[in-house]
Amino acid sequence: MPLIEITDIHKRFGAVEVLKGVSLALEKGEIVAVIGRSGSGKSTLLRCVNGLEKVQSGRIVVDGIHVTAPGADLNLLRQRAGMVFQSYNLFPHLTVERNVTLALKLVRKMEPSAAREVARQVVARVGLADKLLAYPDELSGGQQQRVAIARSLAMQPTLMLFDEITSALDPELVGEVLRVLEGVAGEGMTMMLVTHEMNFAKNVADRVIFMHEGRIHEDGPAREILLEPRTAELRSFLNAVLH
């Protein structure tokens, strides 16, 4: 059974239909890069997966949880499906350590000392062991984004959603965040990531999905999709981002 199963979802904002019948299945351990033009519905698709957006029709099942069913346990779903955003969204009033321990204590009901130990480990894993007691505004964008990844990892999700997590960063900070992502990918995490980093998609993703006007326009193995695009739309998109 796939870990994520999306069946014919439709999503409208007011009168505008943003997702026009998207179906997609992701196996455990699969890494899927979602590419496409601005406004093609990439973020919306990702946000539907963890229930931040509601669909008008269609079905989403994630790790056995029926996201689209009425009364779905979204808080449980979100423990299993971690999400990292373009704008980091760390809690500015909490230190790095407490950013990580907050949900461990409140959601996982961990003892403070156990939560701190987890925080120490995940923060070290993203290379910021010396920043545990820093506040977000004392960190660079790249460091903040690494903490956001660590915060998500600490919950031990079964899959992770990344929405253009390097797009807000200065170019020289992109590398450090991508290296952390590669590390996470290397450990077998199931990942769905919206990205404009085509090289990263080619090297790290198993599969690439090209979204166009609210539909999945191409879907296949990463290298095949990126090196031998079948449709004119994908060719012109790749031309635009690569040159």
Binding site: N50, L52, L74, N75, L76, R78, Q79, G82, M83, F85, S87, N89, L90, F91, P92, H93, L102, A103, L106, V107, Y135, D137, R151, S152, M155
Partner: protein, 216 residues
């Protein structure tokens, strides 16, 4: 009988200052509690409640405090409710404060980015947990400066209650000035006392802002 402005007068002014401080405190607490209600009514998903809150806020913010004081002091007795100066002062200042606190706090709450709510949600936090652990602490930090700023106004506005005969710092100054015919030293002393209170409040505000680390 005219006498010199003496240490005894200064002591009298300081004693009257107790009432200024007490009145400001009562208005802060009463207005604070009522202000929370106003803020909540202003944001709940129920139109009539929103209209009620907006009407209340506009009425209170759009009329002079002195007028409100008079309404309570001279108006309530017309309905057979006898009120002394203290009660009228405490009531009207609390109501006055509630309209301002309500708006300050609503604004602070709404100025926390929706992304913070989403970040909390994405970690599996419940709505209440998002509110209490993520959004409120940031809203409090944002609200410190405007809240204390309004408190400073409130302290100074307690002086209006002198006009209904409540003996706080300003009324006490009038009394002593009348007895000594030395208005300048008397009112300068009163001004210095007001300044010390208000300046301390601002310092407190700066300190709090530093302590409550949050987004700028």
């Amino acid at each position: 009988m005219i006498r010199e402005f003496s240490e005894a007068d200064i002591a009298y002014l300081l004693l009257a200052t107790r009432w200024t401080v007490l009145l400001a405190l009562v208005a802060m607490i009463g207005g604070g509690l009522l202000g929370i209600v106003v803020a909540v009514l202003r944001v709940v998903q129920f139109r009539p409640a929103n209209w009620l809150a907006i009407g209340y806020i506009n009425l209170i913010q759009g009329t002079p405090l002195l007028g409100q004081l008079f309404v309570f002091f001279f108006g309530l007795p017309l309905f057979g409710l006898s009120v002394d100066a203290w009660t009228a002062a405490a009531l009207s200042l609390s109501i006055y404060a509630s309209a301002f606190f309500g708006e300050i706090w609503r604004g602070s709450l709404q100025s926390v980015s929706p992304r913070q709510w989403e970040a909390g949600a994405s970690l599996g936090l419940t709505y209440a947990q998002r509110l209490f652990y993520v959004v409120l602490p940031q809203a409090v930090r944002i609200s410190v400066a405007p809240t204390v700023g309004f408190l400073v106004q409130l302290v100074k506005n307690t002086s209006l209650t002198a006009l209904i005969g409540f003996v706080e710092l300003t009324r006490a100054s009038q009394i002593i000035s009348g007895a000594t015919f030395a208005p300048l030293p008397v009112y300068l002393t009163a001004a210095a006392i007001y300044f010390v209170i208000c300046f301390s409040l601002s310092q407190l505000s700066h300190m709090l802002e530093r302590r409550l680390h949050a987004a700028h």
